[in-house]
Symmetry: C3
Subunit: 437 residues, 3 copies
Amino acid sequence: MKTDTLQPFDFEELFDELWPICRSITGNGLRQSLEILKRVVPIDVREYETGLRCFDWEVPLEWNIKEAWIKTNDGRVLVNFADNNLHVLNYSLPKKGIVSKEELFKHLHSRADLPDAIPYRTCYYAPEWGFCVEHARLTEFKDDKYEVFIDSTLKPGAMTIGEMRLQGESNDEIVFTTYLCHPSMANNELSGPLVQTELFKRLQQRLQRRYSYRFVYAPETIGDIVFLSRNSDELKENMVGGAVLTMLGNDSPMMFEPSGKQDSIFDRAARNVLEHRYPGSSIGSRNPKGRAAQRQYCSPGLKLPLSVLSRALGGSYPEYHTSLDTKSVIHVDRHRQAVGILEDIIDVIEHNEKFINQRPFGEPFMSKYDLSTRIGGERIKPQNLYYKYLLQMSDGDSDLLDIATELNICMLDLLTAAQDLVAAGLLSPAQTTCKTL
Amino acid sequence: MKTDTLQPFDFEELFDELWPICRSITGNGLRQSLEILKRVVPIDVREYETGLRCFDWEVPLEWNIKEAWIKTNDGRVLVNFADNNLHVLNYSLPKKGIVSKEELFKHLHSRADLPDAIPYRTCYYAPEWGFCVEHARLTEFKDDKYEVFIDSTLKPGAMTIGEMRLQGESNDEIVFTTYLCHPSMANNELSGPLVQTELFKRLQQRLQRRYSYRFVYAPETIGDIVFLSRNSDELKENMVGGAVLTMLGNDSPMMFEPSGKQDSIFDRAARNVLEHRYPGSSIGSRNPKGRAAQRQYCSPGLKLPLSVLSRALGGSYPEYHTSLDTKSVIHVDRHRQAVGILEDIIDVIEHNEKFINQRPFGEPFMSKYDLSTRIGGERIKPQNLYYKYLLQMSDGDSDLLDIATELNICMLDLLTAAQDLVAAGLLSPAQTTCKTL
Amino acid sequence: MKTDTLQPFDFEELFDELWPICRSITGNGLRQSLEILKRVVPIDVREYETGLRCFDWEVPLEWNIKEAWIKTNDGRVLVNFADNNLHVLNYSLPKKGIVSKEELFKHLHSRADLPDAIPYRTCYYAPEWGFCVEHARLTEFKDDKYEVFIDSTLKPGAMTIGEMRLQGESNDEIVFTTYLCHPSMANNELSGPLVQTELFKRLQQRLQRRYSYRFVYAPETIGDIVFLSRNSDELKENMVGGAVLTMLGNDSPMMFEPSGKQDSIFDRAARNVLEHRYPGSSIGSRNPKGRAAQRQYCSPGLKLPLSVLSRALGGSYPEYHTSLDTKSVIHVDRHRQAVGILEDIIDVIEHNEKFINQRPFGEPFMSKYDLSTRIGGERIKPQNLYYKYLLQMSDGDSDLLDIATELNICMLDLLTAAQDLVAAGLLSPAQTTCKTL
């Protein structure tokens, strides 16, 4: 079922193009990043104007930045935004003037525990200015006064969000969302958008889809809120599962956390696939606080079943949220594996059905249907075992995922056996809709 | 309660008489075996004609065999049915003629992993002929051509099934069934019929039975299907539990698998008895595929609560289904223990009741009923402890098995205490029927 | 919330005054003990006359004793009640005369396993006389005859029970009860009454109480039955939880056993407090037999939710029920800790509420409510984490205890965060009563 023969876009080339851009939750960096992805997939880019009310929030002023630096007394540039866009506090107010060392240090962010890293710091909703710098370099600040310059603007504008949708036979929808507000960091967050983009391409080329699929590229938290405030009625009607895709390129095994107390079809499928096809994966239970996007989707007023797929839940890798999160942290094959896992999960979802045994009294006489071995007593093949399991357990209450879960096997391994039995007339699909699975 | 004083029939003598007979799923071997057992217990032997429709199956042609051999060029008998009836593929078509070594080997079954064993192979529903032979002896086949002779018949006839029933106060029925189609093998399957036969004798001699008991001797799978197709309405009405009895004579601890998702009274009783009286027993959870008889009884259209009691679930002993499964594999004391376990389970079932505390406000004043120790502070005896448990927990919702399970003790150990309390008027049986237990 | 600044009464002084009294389930010792406690707390002392019917029991004759001894032939006092009131079988009939050694030994109780201890033995409901003595001293009985004298009376009188009640905003009631029938033993049972008395003083001084509190000092078993037979209708209406307080002064960690199958508010709070504030505590599951007071409160006809708090469930310390259970077994600081634990449990109960998120669509915009950090990316504080948890989980179904339990933290640690959110208008209490928590 997997479209392995298709040529994926080149992860690395796309990465290199997106990497240097200074993104934020609004502004031209975000806009430009979506335009680049739009060359590969048909993203619908939408602008939401500053001041627009969305639930308890409103779209903030748009932030853009051209230049920023700190100079010593003798005019030497100590810190330069041109070197690394993490050097400026993301959403910093503009600033120009001479400041004392004491004053500057109040606005200088560094991490003593990671002295060689520039930390990633933001001030989206506080009127602050500031710089971020390697802790080891604080000793270079020997003067009493410094010239600081931040050529940023904070003006009415818009927040940019990208959306795509693939219609299936049913309106029941699986939603994928990823964050695109992070400036130059690799795993968090170019890996999420790259995996999501490739996944779209794979699904687009499928001939048949029972479910519909939606893909969102949004700034973290506020972007999800803006999107949900405009789409929550439709999602409440149609969304049956999905995941936020984040930090998928680093070296750790896949980690999964489900959407909520009730298992969604995505939760059930993801657990089955990860447990049986990707041993070593970490399958968590519901995090009651949720991850950023989950806190919006799964909030008590919405309760939309959004799960998390990640290799670094909670930012569990040392380079997280610093200038050390570069290309060296991520791997193309980890991205490809993430896409493969997502395709397996979707295969399970697409093929999950409830069946009813059409010869429910005793076992069917399998020889009549050419589904039996001729010589009794020889070692029984897995396929023949699966026939027996499916016939015993297909009472219209359990779907294939339930049966696979009880048997502790991958649902995809049961699928061929189920299809054989359907072909023989021994199983029939129960009249169920996607929603009831 | 156990009828230990009764003289059981001699397991060994009966075994020796049944052993040499070439049984199959139909035919004179099966018929003759039932006649031998009928000398000990009043089996009702029934014949079901070839072609009779039963669910998705029909009764096959009757198979009988007189003689079979393979001869070398020089007339030496290499393989002879007279030596061991496993040498012929069970249900083999008749065959007579000269065949090439290559042709013969297509019809010769052996097991490389057990080179000294003749494997037990069948072809009930495929038009095959063949022989089974020790793998180690394949080197003896040095000629290019062989004379083969199988003097079998496959003709319209009947399938023979044995049944017995003991009526109790209630029609609610416990069903035991065992396989009788296996040719000369000891544990599988002379142990099942022998244990079942002895169990019948014990129950027959009981003065009181709340439940009714049914005993079936049937060829595996097809025999169960034939029996069920004729009795399923009655069983659906009355069967409350039971077990297939199979492979009970070998040296392993007792193994139990319950009937289905819902616990039957037999499942609950068997777990309690095995856990507390027979430590080391293996108590499994439901096997979703079921064992052969279970696949018929528990099929989605019938859902009859048949459990499994065995010492070798899935044939987990090396001699299984080969000529090595001889008398040396089984032990009379293992058979006797199996009967003892079954009697204990039946004791629990027969005596299980829901009681209601008749002095439910606070504890009863036990001294008044002579159920107390005179001196307070001395070590309390188990019996007095059981009084306390029973009085606290007998609210009409929990039966003795529930209470014993919560207390993690054998229900039979609670029974005397319950009887004391009933005698004192402190407990009364709730108005329940067998069915609701 | 704890009233740590209050001066508790002196545990030791009160102990010393209560210690020498020979208490029993009736009589002047019990009466006198309650009068002593009444000097500290406003106990309502009630007398229940001999012969009064209470459920299956009746109030027994009142027992009092002045003097008792065993003398040798030559007039030497071998055993004297004046030395230790455990020397007499509690509730012994009066006795005067010369008895043979053989006869005396039938009435002499000792413990071979604890040769230096006088065992505590009773004969409340049997017409016995007797003495208890150190097993090691049995060798001193060298004469053939002895003079015995027990100057006890068993006459119509009354049983004395002490009660107190603190009214709260609601009639929903937490009930504490303790045993006061034990003669000179320290942990069992002066620790229970002492802790209960101090707890009353603490709760009395609280300015606000949502719940009402009842405190009972009763002879074990029969006292509970007498009390319940007079108050069960009211308790069935109002009692929502509580505990028997017993053996709280010894050196072991706190042990807790819940009230029944359904968790009471007291059970839930006690588990949360003990698990997270008092590591090492033992949190048991329901004991189906129950402890003495529980057997009365939780009996099938009453099902009142009484739990147990103790440091020695089932008497699990070597000195239990002997003359070795002296002041050296108990510690003032263990008593104080017990009171502290009870106050913590009550704090949880008093502050437990269901809240509803007032901005349930996505997360609230926390900056607007001054509940956010200004700089994004800095390490989040527990308080801010608790905000996120509470907002996600406050849907009106879960109360703070449920949320704390799911988060595996002490509910009291969540409380400030909840109060902040209420102050900000982000959470509102659901309209629930004590009963529904």
